[in-house]
Symmetry: C2
Subunit: 136 residues, 2 copies
DNA sequence: CAGTATCCAACTAGATACTG
DNA sequence: CAGTATCTAGTTGGATACTG
């Protein structure tokens, strides 16, 4: 079986759900640790490398570089080099990149609306696990 | 900085985007390899363990077990044990679980609509990388 | 300024074997 | 039937040092 992610538009039962699995690699866009934050940092317009690094305080040079390269390769952002001294490089969302942000927003909305619920469920589950023996 | 995922509802610029970062742990729901498929397999109603294993051909016993436990702990599915011999265990989506599927659907829709675009961008990028020297 | 290169610790997921 | 336990290969991300 191809374990790629399903295209849920075509969902019509579990089988169809599972068969509609083609573009899983594309899903890396959403599973990467920094992708969402980097795209978010670009929402207001073009940013330079170190500018992004400051905005994303906590990201390493390596991860910023890697994330930007991946986003560029995936066609979500545009990298522009100005051959000045010192060099200047701008990163900017393109149309495809902006469309991803829409999806990230719906993920963020769900997380914002239900995070407490999930966290409470986890605590309840862990509490239950503490006392597995039924008191008589 | 807290590198959790932003709640984009509150977005009002990159700063707000970055500051609205609280419930990142909740995002594991979307980044897990099997979560989406398991939730999808439960869309039509309760399923038993080995039933799910057959539907998700390719998943190992360990990963199915682990994924189901995580989903149960997160409060997205309900696990019901029937103390029969042989044992019977049903897994079922609850309301929270069904709401996640909505988000997964929007991810799947984006992926379905733009996968070709992303894949083409990757190929183009890789092609460009092959001939880095500008022919004179 | 805008990156690369290298090493390493932590985590993930698969294969395999065993259990109430 | 419905799992758990263990071992291991592969991947991810961070720290650090260096470069055009």
């Amino acid at each position: 079986m191809d374990t790629t992610f399903p295209d849920l538009r075509q969902y019509g039962g579990a089988d169809a759900f599972l068969q509609a699995c083609k573009p899983r690699t594309v899903l890396d866009i959403f599973t990467n640790k920094w992708t969402g934050l980097v795209l978010g940092a670009l929402l207001d317009g073009p940013r330079r490398f170190n500018e992004l690094r400051r905005m994303l305080d906590g990201i390493t040079q390596k991860m910023l570089s890697q994330t930007l390269r991946t986003l560029e390769r995936d066609g979500l952002i545009v990298r522009t080099v100005y051959p000045t001294i010192p060099p200047r490089v701008d990163y900017e969302l393109n149309e495809l990149g902006r469309s991803v942000v829409g999806v990230l927003r719906s993920i963020g909305e769900w997380a914002g609306e239900h995070a407490d619920e999930v966290i409470a469920a986890r605590q309840a589950y862990d509490e239950r696990a503490k006392e597995p023996v039924k008191p008589v």
